[in-house]
Symmetry: C4
Subunit: 237 residues, 4 copies
């Protein structure tokens, strides 16, 4: 059995590399993003430190916390968005990694307040339905425990619309930006990339289209289940 320390070191390495991928993929400028990973057996979350320059950051600086987001090792302060991650991990038991960015196209949709419609198979390959945009938080939710309430409004949006976080691995927070998740940091980053790309495509499509042209439900089914679930046949194995 692997030692606790070794497992956590590997988490730090994955979280570190996933954070570096964000600027590489053009999803983050400056320090506008963070990645975390959870290990529920060990009871730990690993997340990027707050406001650190990506070019200076090292793997060992990743912050280790317990399941409530309390730091376990001292060191640097965790990302200020940590409490949002904690809430998502508590309610979305199927997920093991979370990414938050301010990527241009996903933020632009978030700022519009609209859900992201399904216009094509690029969307359907990863998101099984429209990507929801949350409501705006109210004054009280912002003044008290803002980051926790950001997590809660995401969870509530999924509950009220009866959505599955596995089927829709991301959301747009109104006036803020995207959160995505996955089975590991890499998958969560890929979902951020997909979400930004389909936000850009949808924006362009709406400027081109002269009458509504949503993707039919049966194409959404086909493309999503071609890649996901027990009958998937995309990719190797």
């Amino acid at each position: 059995m692997k030692q606790r320390k070794q497992i956590i070191d590997e988490m730090k390495e994955r979280v570190f590399k996933a954070n570096l991928k964000l600027p590489e993929l053009g999803l983050v400028v400056l320090t506008w993003g963070n990645v975390s990973e959870i290990n529920r057996e060990l009871g730990v979350i690993v997340i990027k430190p707050s406001g650190l320059d990506y070019s200076q950051m090292t793997s060992s600086q990743m912050v280790v916390t317990d399941m409530e987001g309390e730091p376990l090792e001292g060191g640097l302060k965790p990302s200020s968005d940590l409490k949002s991650h904690v809430i998502l991990y508590q309610h979305f038991e199927e997920i093991s990694a979370i990414v938050h960015t301010h990527s241009r196209y996903a933020v632009s949709w978030s700022q519009s307040g609209r859900d992201l419609p399904v216009y094509g198979t690029t969307h359907a390959d990863t998101f099984y339905g429209p990507v929801p945009t949350t409501r705006q938080l109210n004054n009280d939710e912002v003044d008290n425990e803002y980051e926790m309430n950001t997590g809660k409004v995401i969870v509530k949006t999924f509950q009220e619309r009866q959505l599955s976080p596995l089927a829709i691995p991301g959301i747009l927070v109104n006036g803020h930006g995207p959160f995505t998740w996955g089975a590991n940091p890499n998958e969560a980053v890929e979902n951020s990339l997909v979400l930004d790309e389909i936000c850009s495509m949808a924006q362009l499509t709406e400027t081109i289209m002269t009458s509504d042209n949503f993707l039919p439900q049966y194409v959404l089914d086909k493309h999503y289940f071609r890649k996901h679930g027990k009958n998937a046949y995309y990719g190797q194995k």
Copy 2:
């Protein structure tokens, strides 16, 4: 006479390199694209494996199939879009290579459901007329043999509109994205690049233009035939 094995190895090399060009040219992120080549004399098609990371891929992993798309050598699974390629090769006898991508601007037009109008000579240099967008597939076509039916709706679109796959070396599949083709993998990739570029230009033009300004037919004729056919005078030789 070249050995069968040598010819197939050269096909693999060309298909491999053409696949790598797609992310280099900004036409593909993640694994969103595939290139194939056919050799009708040998009765083989070579295509990218399904869902493989471009940075890990090697030339020898390219998948060899017969003319129906049945793998001949074992190894990896072919691209899930292979059956669309097979149908196009069966009906478009003039073409030897096919490219499918989810490039941003061509997908955005595909999602709009509109044909791509001819607004300029950049378009006319490669596509002799509007680039058609197919109709949406119906429920039955999607549930049964989806990839084959994607190929068939492309072929039907060309037949119904009496278009030549040589004169219009690509199409937009409604709600999905572009397919292009050519005499070899390189030419098919170039046609993908041109299609994405002219989709972006047309989108911008429509936001600028205050009254319709389609390219006159005689300029389309001039530019297309300046580069194609027996009276071409563009390029060397």
Copy 3:
């Protein structure tokens, strides 16, 4: 105590590096930008020379002037926008560095004549309210001491709207482009990057949005003061 020469050499180095960052970050093509820094104790301003190729420029070529913008060392001519910087330094005593660019999205907003509305937290993290656009200068202001009057219209805009240059570290000059500032050249460059990014996001948001969706004042408060002022908790320390 550091020698005057050493302090000025360090200013030159910071101004030089900050200028080079502008093309690296995609904020400047050709010679369309300039950075300056002031040291009020020493009574000197250091600024980029006028119209010099970034790839040829050296740290020692940075121009040193007095507090009125009069060159102190001979050498190259200072940036033609120097007099705008001088006016800003005279009236905004809290700032120590200024950046001017012709970055694409910030210029596009400047050219529209509209203020930049607050649509999201990306904006709120750096600018505490809408980014103002100045009025157009009148004929007289342009014909006589144009660059000085550009500085003056910026100052007047802040005065008339009772804005603080610390809370709003930048402005859009009508028909021209952005000026940003900060505590040092690096911070002023970052504010230019943020301003260009939020201009692009706002433009996209307005094409997506179907009804107004401004960021509520309490979210603006929350995000701005999460990063700024004595109760800030973003970042380390």
Copy 4:
């Protein structure tokens, strides 16, 4: 006195390097561009060969022609747009180099058929007034001596509107794309870059702006003459 051969070799080198700059600056994909230079004393024009891959091209392959565009040295075929260049050189005696590209934003404006309005000082720094778009060529002009007539419609546009090719160093050919010029290949390339950039900015501005906001004539005067003519004070010396 320099030898004829040496002067021509230096022209070839300049034309070659200017051609390579086009893809570097993102103004050209594939082979969509060409640069030429004229030496009126020697009676020669040097231009890029037709349809050659930029990555394979060498300086010595640049094509030398007489003042009518007739090749003087054998070798490769000149760019198919050569005759347009010849006409421009014959009528615009102040210019020594020409660039033609299919850069995305300038082509998009060309395709709209509209002149490019002056919305800002980025425009005014290089183009002293709106950049004209030609009329479409008629059927006859396209069928007979198309490239020559492309040159002629550019010249006619300048004559009819009483524009100076020094004050407006470029034009948009309707449905086609931009031609720019200058005192040398480098300056002509820079003018292409400026034109593409201001076309993008103008497109964005029009989507943002809620009421017309053209640059006042006196600001156009100020900015243009700050950089051009005997009272210029931008740049060194």
